[in-house]
C-alpha cells in the first residue's frame, strides 16, 4: 500500500526541512548596549562591532537607529535580525504616519509592539536573536525599556544588554541619579563603555552615543575611548590568583 506523503506548504515550520529556516544560533552579533535617562531625555551607547563568532569581523555596524519621531532603538545580538526588526518598525511607522491624524506612536507603544513580536516569535521556536533597548521622549515623558529574545520586557531608569548587565549596571546603580546633566550622563556612559572595552572580548574601541530628547534624535559620529593598559594588575594578572590565565 502506498500512501502519498502529505506535503507541507513552503513556509511551514513543521517537518525536517523546516529546521534550516528557524533561527538556531546567531552568526554576526553585536555586543552590549547601555542606556540611561537624564534630565532632557535618554542617552544610549553602543559600539560599532559585528563579531563573527570570535572574530571581530565588522567594525562599522550602526547598532542604534531612530524610530519615528519619538523613539530610539539599540540592539545587541544577531545583526540580520536587527535589520529585520527595523523593517517591521519601518512598516509600523509608515502606517502610523498614513493616518495623518495628529496621533503618533510613542516609545511606550513601540516598546510594547516589539515585546509582542519577540514573544510571539519565541513561542513559534523561531526567535529574533536580539536584546533590544528602546528609549524615547513624548510629551515631556521620558521612557526607557528593554526586550529580550524570549520576550522578557521591563522599563527602568537605566538598562543594558548582554555583558552590560553584569559590568555596566552595577556602576549605574551606584552613580545614576535623577536629572543628570548631559555632560554627566555622557561621562557615566563612557565610564561603563570603558569597563566593557577592557573586559568584554567582543567589544571594539569605536562607539557611538545617541541622545533623544523632545526635540529629536542625534547619533554621534563614531569615536574611540582613551584606554590605559599600564595598570599593574594588567602587567601581572596571575598575581592574586595563582593558576589563572
Amino acid at each position: 500500500m502506498n500512501f502519498m506523503a502529505s506535503k507541507q506548504p513552503e513556509n511551514s515550520l513543521l517537518g525536517p526541512e523546516a529546521d534550516s529556516q528557524r533561527t538556531l544560533y546567531p552568526y554576526v552579533t553585536g555586543t552590549s548596549v547601555v542606556a540611561l535617562k537624564y534630565k532632557d531625555g535618554i542617552l544610549m551607547a553602543a559600539d560599532m562591532g559585528g563579531s563573527y563568532g570570535s572574530t571581530l569581523r565588522y567594525k562599522s555596524v550602526e547598532r542604534m537607529k531612530s524610530i519615528g519621531k519619538h523613539s530610539l532603538l539599540g540592539a545587541s545580538g544577531e545583526i540580520s535580525d536587527f535589520q529585520e526588526i527595523l523593517r517591521y518598525l519601518d512598516e509600523l511607522i509608515l502606517y502610523d504616519n498614513m493616518w495623518d491624524d495628529g496621533n503618533s506612536l510613542g516609545p511606550k507603544e513601540v516598546h510594547n509592539y516589539l515585546t509582542r513580536v519577540m514573544y510571539n516569535r519565541r513561542n513559534k521556536f523561531n526567535p529574533l536573536w536580539n536584546s533590544l533597548v528602546l528609549g524615547g521622549v513624548k510629551n515631556g515623558q521620558k521612557y526607557l525599556g528593554t526586550v529580550s529574545m524570549i520576550g522578557v520586557n521591563f522599563e527602568d531608569n537605566h538598562v543594558a544588554t548582554g555583558f552590560g548587565n553584569h559590568l555596566a549596571r552595577p556602576i549605574l546603580r551606584q552613580e545614576w541619579h535623577e536629572n543628570l546633566s548631559y555632560e554627566d550622563g555622557v561621562r557615566l556612559l563612557e565610564k561603563c563603555m570603558r569597563v566593557l572595552l577592557y573586559r568584554d572580548r567582543s567589544a571594539i574601541n569605536k562607539l557611538q552615543i545617541a541622545k533623544i530628547t523632545e526635540e529629536g534624535t542625534t547619533i554621534s559620529r563614531p569615536y574611540s575611548l582613551k584606554t590605559y593598559w599600564e595598570f599593574s594588575a594588567f602587567a601581572n594578572p596571575a598575581q592574586g590568583a595563582v593558576g589563572t590565565w
Binding site: 493616518w99 491624524d101 495628529g102 496621533n103 506612536l105 510613542g106 511606550k108 507603544e109 510594547n112 509592539y113 509582542r116 510629551n139
Partner: protein, 271 residues
C-alpha cells in the same frame, strides 16, 4: 421618499447619482429614538431617550461602553448597533494589548466608517441601519463623532440623531458656543435639556433617559438613575424663562398624577 426602480439593491445607482438603499438605511436612523451628544474641551456627555415597547418590557440598551476612554450611543436598528459595538470593543482591546495604550478615537471612527462603506458596495450585503455617536478621548483632547450608515463620519461639538432630534439640535445650536469651556455638570444639564426638547412636552424623568459621561480623569460610565433624577430635579424645576419650557414647566407640575400611572410601571432594568 417614494419607491422607484433604482432602489432594489445597494449596488444600483439612480440616474441622479444616488444610492437609494443607503438613503433608506439613513431613514432607519431617523426613525429610531433620539440620541444626543455634546462635548467640552475635557468631557463628552452622551444621552438617549429610552422607549420601552410596552409597560411590561424593559427598554433597549442604546449606550455602550467601548473602552475606558470611548463610548457610543446609537439610534436605529439596535441589533446592528450592538454588533458594531462589539467590533469597536474588539478593536480597542486588541490595540491596547499590542501597544499598552488606548486606541485614539479618531482612528476607531475611521475603521468604523470603512466597515460601513464596504456594505454600500457589495451586492450581497446591506448597509448597517444604525447611526452612532462616538464619544472618546485621545491625545488631542475630547472628541464627538457621528458615524452614518453611508460610511461618512463627521466631528461635532454637539449633535442629535433619531426621531424628533431636530428639536434637540435647535436647542444645541443655541447653546453650543458655551460648551467648550463648560463644566462637566453644566454639560450634563445641557444634555438633559436637549433630551427634554425631543420629548415634546412629555415629562423628563430618569426612567425615560440614559446619560453617560467620559472625560479627562473620568472613564466612560453610565450615570445611575438616582443621580440622573437628582440632576433633573436640581435643574428642571428651576426652569428657564423660554417659550417651550414654560409649557413643559406646567406639565411638570401635573407630574404627580401622570407619574403614579406611567412612571412606576416601567421596570427598572437599567444596567
Amino acid at each position: 421618499m417614494f419607491r422607484n426602480q433604482y432602489d432594489t439593491d445597494v449596488t444600483t445607482w439612480s440616474p441622479a447619482g444616488r444610492l437609494f438603499q443607503v438613503e433608506y438605511a439613513m431613514e432607519a436612523v431617523k426613525q429610531g429614538s433620539a440620541a444626543i451628544g455634546l462635548r467640552s474641551k475635557t468631557h463628552i456627555v452622551l444621552g438617549c431617550v429610552n422607549k420601552a415597547n410596552s409597560e411590561l418590557s424593559s427598554h433597549q440598551k442604546k449606550i455602550f461602553k467601548v473602552d475606558d476612554h470611548i463610548g457610543v450611543a446609537i439610534a436605529g436598528l439596535t441589533a446592528d448597533g450592538r454588533v458594531l459595538s462589539r467590533y469597536m470593543r474588539n478593536e480597542c482591546i486588541n490595540y491596547s494589548f499590542t501597544y499598552e495604550s488606548p486606541l485614539p478615537v479618531g482612528r476607531l471612527v475611521v475603521q468604523l466608517a470603512d466597515k460601513a462603506q464596504v456594505c454600500t458596495q457589495r451586492s450581497w450585503k446591506r448597509p448597517y441601519g444604525v447611526g452612532l455617536l462616538v464619544a472618546g478621548l485621545d491625545e488631542s483632547g475630547a472628541h464627538l463623532y457621528y458615524n452614518c450608515p453611508s460610511g461618512n463620519y463627521f466631528e461635532y461639538q454637539a449633535f442629535a440623531i433619531g426621531s424628533r432630534s431636530q428639536a434637540a439640535k435647535t436647542y444645541l445650536e443655541r447653546k453650543f458656543e458655551n460648551f467648550t469651556d463648560a463644566s462637566r455638570d453644566d454639560l450634563v444639564k445641557d444634555a438633559l435639556m436637549a433630551i427634554r426638547e425631543t420629548l415634546q412636552g412629555e415629562t423628563l424623568k430618569s426612567s425615560v433617559c440614559t446619560i453617560a459621561v467620559v472625560g479627562v480623569g473620568e472613564p466612560f460610565h453610565i450615570l445611575d438613575q438616582g443621580t440622573v433624577q437628582q440632576m433633573i430635579d436640581a435643574f428642571e424645576i428651576v426652569g428657564e424663562q423660554e417659550g417651550p419650557d414654560a409649557a413643559a414647566g406646567q406639565e411638570a407640575s401635573a407630574e404627580p398624577e401622570q407619574g403614579a400611572g406611567a412612571g412606576e410601571g416601567v421596570a427598572p432594568m437599567d444596567i
